[in-house]
């Protein structure tokens, strides 16, 4: 009767496990009820009398490890600065960092672990990660700033895409080409893009803008592992493109520019913001990039003259000497500052519960951190900003890139958003 004994033991342990899990849940539920702290501010999960806990779901070991490290360091710097100035709402700010290595399964586990005891997430890396968590985030009303800019992430109250979405960037890119590079009706442009949300959303924008301008788009879909774009360049040259858009990673941008230059396809290339990294300026493609590439971005270059950016870059270089100053530093620091402003305002209104933090956030119509253009968070279905910078690689500049055109709203964007 060995089997029956085994199954009894199994049953007993399963029951015990359930019991433990059950008590765990109930005690947590009581903890999570909003309560008034000693200073009269209503608090919920993640906020105690003396500290505010924030969470970061980042990638420190996967494909976006460099970006993840930059954002983590920049936000830690913000937390240190904030705490040195007395914290927020009389409380110290603390950021709990969990690494998911760009693995959705790990991210889901990390979220479950993290979400019970934080009030907001100033950083979540990866479109697939955000997509997997979006329902949980909505249920938990956990204000989240994803480091992803697909338009599919709009429309959820607690999820805030900062700046422009990929489609808006590409509309601005097409505008840049027709305005300054002499592209006219009937011309063909190529668009090389990653499979997935990022590329699809970018292509949506470029297709719309091309149609509006009477241009024809030749699209080339690639994967993150495609780093030799020779075949794509041959095909684009065959198609007689007058310019190329690219919405991929830095490695692909470098290969595209390098191959195009070497094959005599001397056309302007415009990339989405994630397609550039300072490391590119040390590859053999640097010269081609300087000659041909522009980047459309909602954020200015880190070498920008904006006083806020200059101050941040100086402190970052002092605190983390040797770390590259890339766009992640700027976007991470910006996100943290915006969240800090939300928390301050929510505290003044007397509540730091998650729901009230989200509500306060959505009431901000002109949030300006001095690190770029002001943002409007009040319409959940619209990008927070529609004005974009045009940047240009420059090996000598901090972050390998400089501002070529100041922030402006490209024509047609309102029409696109209302269509």
């Amino acid at each position: 009767m060995n089997t029956s004994r085994t199954s009894k033991t199994l049953l007993a342990s399963a029951l015990a496990a359930l019991l433990i899990a059950g008590t765990g849940c109930s005690s947590k539920a009581e903890e999570d009820k909003p309560a008034d702290a000693a200073d009269g501010v209503r608090t919920g999960p993640g906020v105690t009398d003396d500290r505010i806990r924030l969470g970061a779901l980042t990638d420190l070991t996967g494909p976006y490890a460099t970006l993840g490290k930059s954002i983590v360091q920049a936000q830690q710097m913000w937390a240190d600065e904030t705490n040195a100035a007395g914290g927020i709402c009389g409380r110290k700010v603390e950021i709990v960092v969990e690494d998911h290595g760009y693995d959705v399964q790990k991210a889901v586990t990390a979220y479950a672990d993290l979400s019970t005891d934080v009030v907001a997430l100033p950083q979540v890396i990866g479109s697939p990660v955000v997509a997997a968590l979006i329902d949980d985030i909505e249920r938990d009303q956990l204000l989240t700033f994803p480091q992803a800019w697909a338009a599919s992430l709009l429309g959820k109250d607690p999820v805030q895409v900062l700046g422009t979405t990929y489609d808006v960037d590409m509309i601005a890119a097409v505008d840049f080409l027709t305005r300054t590079k002499g592209l006219k009706k009937g011309d063909t442009i190529g668009h090389v893009y990653f499979e997935g949300d990022y590329g699809a959303n970018a292509l949506e924008g470029s297709t719309w803008a091309a149609e509006r301008a009477g241009l024809k788009i030749v699209d080339q879909k690639i994967k993150a592992t495609d780093t030799d774009l020779s075949a794509q360049v041959s095909a684009l040259r065959e198609a007689g493109v007058k310019a190329v858009l690219i919405s991929a990673g830095p490695a692909q941008t470098a290969s595209l520019a390098g191959v195009a230059a070497s094959r005599g396809l001397q056309v302007p290339i415009v990339s989405s913001a994630p397609g550039f990294a300072p490391q590119l300026m040390k590859t053999p493609a640097a010269k081609a990039l300087e000659a041909m590439l522009h980047v459309v971005s909602a954020a200015p270059a880190v070498s920008s003259d904006l006083p806020g950016v200059k101050k941040m870059v100086a402190s970052y270089e002092k605190k983390f000497p040797g770390s590259p100053v890339d766009s992640g530093v700027l976007s991470g620091y910006n996100a943290a500052q915006l969240l800090g402003a939300d928390l301050k305002k929510a505290c003044e209104a007397g509540s730091l519960t998650r729901e009230d933090v989200v509500k306060t956030h959505r009431s901000q119509k002109n949030a300006d951190t001095g690190l770029g253009t002001p943002q409007n968070f009040s319409d959940v279905n619209r990008p927070a900003s529609v004005s974009t910078y045009v940047l240009k690689p420059d090996a000598k500049a901090v972050g390998g890139i400089v501002v070529a055109e100041e922030a402006h709203v490209a024509p047609g964007i309102e029409e696109y958003l209302n269509s």
Binding site: A65, T227, L229, Q232, S234, E238, A254, P284
Partner: protein
Amino acid sequence: MTGFLDHLLNGLALGAVYALVALGFVVIFKASGVLNFAHGSLLLLGGYLTAVLHDDLGFVGALAAAVVVTALVAGAMDRLLLRGGDRDPRAAHVQTIVTIGVDIVLVTDLARRIGGDLLTTGDPWGDSVTRLGSVTVADSRLAAIAVSAVVIGAVFALFRYTAWGLSLRAASEDLEAAALMGVRLTRVRMLAWCLAGALAALAAVFLAAFPAPGLERTTGQIALKAFPAAILGGMASPPGALAGSLLIGLTEALVAGYQSELHVLGEGFGDVAPYAVMVLVLLVRPTGLFGAKGAVRV
């Protein structure tokens, strides 16, 4: 027409590099019956070593060092982790799984070291190109074709004319008989692993060279593209690996080049094309292009 020639040359160059990788798969499979899933990480190791050493040793020195070290690591992998399979042919399956584990360990560590960087190997070709009529081709690709041809020729000669080659061929025919005839299986095996490691390190340099922007943490994954090449060539056949690699390289370049014309086949057809070709070939010739017919006495 220019486009077609362009694609053709791209494909040949790609195929030549894949051949170096696929040949590694085949040599290991022939000698030990193991499918080496750690081949991609060996490749990454070779590329990484070349990249970090070229400042001090110069390109040729760094490459030589990388080739030797990768060969030794591959050999050590066989000796230390995959022991005990010499007598029991079934152990090959277990060892194949072990290589997956080794791959994870190696790749994780190398990815940590490389981070988000794009490493250059300091190769002498840079971004220079050669014009052949209306077609432009990167010098690094021409070098890849030339070097692959020489190296693959040398490996074939090794198989054909050396005692080790004879032993290897004997061992892959019949392990037991070979052992009885005095073939030192352990040494034959280890040398095969070393050779495969060396080939992988060499391939890494060409995969990181110009049309690609440099060596990244994901470069090793390209080795997986040589997998269908080795399989459709017949897994145990070196000429098969060569033919399979060229076929896969050409398929990939042509499918990517004519992507817009191939839209009818659905988005992302380029990713599946190598495997589609593999399946088609296997449907017609189940043992691969040059695979041995499995004769079984009944």
